[in-house]
């Protein structure tokens, strides 16, 4: 069996809000109910629970188990995937692996975080010793020097980064689930003139942390067919890389783990970047999407700005990109934020994009970025190729 022997039969997503007035488990319950209603499944048929990381759940070393308890899910597979922003795609891949291994048949993948309402995160990594004492704010600072270095090596047209920001914002305007605060159109000038956070990272480069939840039901394709799910989305390729080139002291920070992860996912799926119908890259910062375009082979390294200049990234453009706004314009649901672009890709392939439905639903490419390492770009890169069934 392979990952493509599994099928996503339903997806669900809550409204993304700045600060939730509901508990993280209440949001999880909302997602569960929507999935049960959509699929007609009985709760007892769910025999697997796959969770993404969560800043709310982070203080609890029994996060997956406690969530299974709260939602009263009796399961044979129960696991949290903790690779930062790659966690939702990673949880989906692990759920598929568990199904393939025969551990379970029907997995509820839940990506929930209420970081603004309740942040229990207490990370243990290099930062307390090596970067917090330098006043490093975290991701914006890291992306500040990644961006400066990129500009030094290749040159950088900030208007092209702005073009991506504008396309995403256009998507958020059409997305009723996006955080309301972000649902006003912007221009390239707004992007370029937005205030600096960590030069040259601007406010409109960055995500705004929000609260929310999303999820999906993954089952074996065989079971999906038996249960009569005529509409489904198939994960046909997945690649993941953690600590890319970490055995080296000095690397090119414009190289990312999406190079090997993408090659693996594309090979499994039997496609290349030029076949991608819609692109849903992880967007913690605008430039991260351009770096991924280069690593995944949409264009050559250093030519991201030229590529962006030549393409239209709106839902009705030639390469629709994060059509619901992405995290930057829909709001970043903490460590579950990778779920937003994943769910949007699934929604598009179900043909349920509504006002922002893409025309070409042959496939969708979803990625993840997770973790900020010392003087590097990121810790984990994930690449997932989805196709509709049939």
């Amino acid at each position: 069996m392979a990952i493509s022997d599994t099928a996503i039969v339903a997806y669900a997503e809550t409204k993304i809000v700045l600060k939730s007035d509901k508990d993280v488990w209440a949001l999880g319950a909302e997602v569960l109910e929507e999935l049960l209603n959509k699929t007609g499944l009985d709760k007892s048929e769910i025999d697997g629970l796959a969770l993404s990381s969560s800043q709310t759940g982070a203080g609890n070393c029994f996060w997956a188990q406690s969530t299974a308890d709260q939602l009263a899910l009796e399961v044979d597979y129960c696991q949290t995937t903790d690779i930062g922003g790659c966690s939702p795609a990673g949880a989906l891949a692990r759920a598929a692996a568990a199904i393939i291994a025969g551990m379970c048949e029907t997995v509820f993948c839940l990506f929930s975080d209420t970081q603004n309402r309740e942040n229990n995160s207490r990370p243990r990594h290099y930062q307390a010793e090596w970067t917090a004492p330098l006043g490093l704010l975290g991701p914006p600072t890291s992306f500040g020097f990644i961006t400066n270095r990129y500009e030094h090596q290749f040159g950088l047209d900030y208007a092209m980064l702005g073009k991506l920001a504008v396309a995403q914002r256009n998507g958020a305007v059409l997305n009723d689930l996006a955080c309301e605060k972000l649902r006003t159109p912007i221009t390239i000038e707004d992007y370029v003139n937005s205030r600096m956070i960590a030069d040259p990272i601007r406010l409109l480069d960055s995500v705004m942390v929000c609260d929310g939840a999303s999820g999906l039901i993954l089952m074996s394709r065989k079971k999906a067919e038996k249960k009569g799910f005529t509409k489904a989305v198939i994960p046909v390729g997945y690649g993941e890389r953690t600590s890319y080139q970490f055995s080296e002291n000095i690397v090119d920070v414009t190289d990312t783990g999406h190079l090997p992860a993408g090659a693996k996912a594309f090979k499994q799926a039997g496609i290349t970047a030029k076949d991608v119908a819609s692109f849903h890259p992880y967007d913690d910062f605008i430039i991260a999407m351009m770096l991924q375009m280069e690593m995944l082979g949409f264009c050559k390294k250093g030519q991201g700005c030229d590529y962006i200049r030549e393409h239209d990234f709106n839902f009705n453009g030639d390469l629709p990109l994060n059509t619901g706004g992405g995290q930057i314009s829909a709001g970043q649901v903490g460590l579950a934020g990778g779920g937003t672009n994943l769910i949007e890709a699934v929604r598009q392939l179900f043909g349920e994009g509504g006002k922002r439905q893409v025309k070409n639903t042959r496939n969708a490419l979803v990625t993840g970025i997770g973790g900020i390492p010392y003087a590097r770009n990121w810790s984990t890169s994930a690449v997932l190729v989805l196709t509709p069934n049939g």
Binding site: L136, G144, F145, R149, A198, D199, S247
Partner: protein, 141 residues
Amino acid sequence: MTAINDTLHIERQAPAFRSYSEPYWNGTKEKKLLVQYDKAANRYQWYPRATSRFNGKASNLEWREVKGAGEIYSFTTVRRARPPFQGHEPFFLAVVTLPEGVQIMGNTVGITKEEMKIGLKVKPYWHPLPGGYHMLMWQKA
């Protein structure tokens, strides 16, 4: 010339260190820049880790003093920070490449906005911390 804050007036302490990084922090008491060195790989590594990033064998590691003759690899101007850095922005955060083949991050002292650039030569500036430790910062060479 546009001055960028040098962060010297911010109250900060030596961080809690780990069993394997203690030699570095003790070295800063004498303003010594100690870097882990892998005897088998004949290479330095930074930041201090529990094992060799080259071959996974901690027993290959020892500490060697380096001069800190650095060059700016990249930098950012931090304009938003958390306490105790809040209110002291803007300040620089730089990634510095040493000839020993490692990169060390740090704040800068006395480098103006106009002077700061990738490739700028720098050397250590040791800022005193409570307990006799020092914080490694970077100044123009």
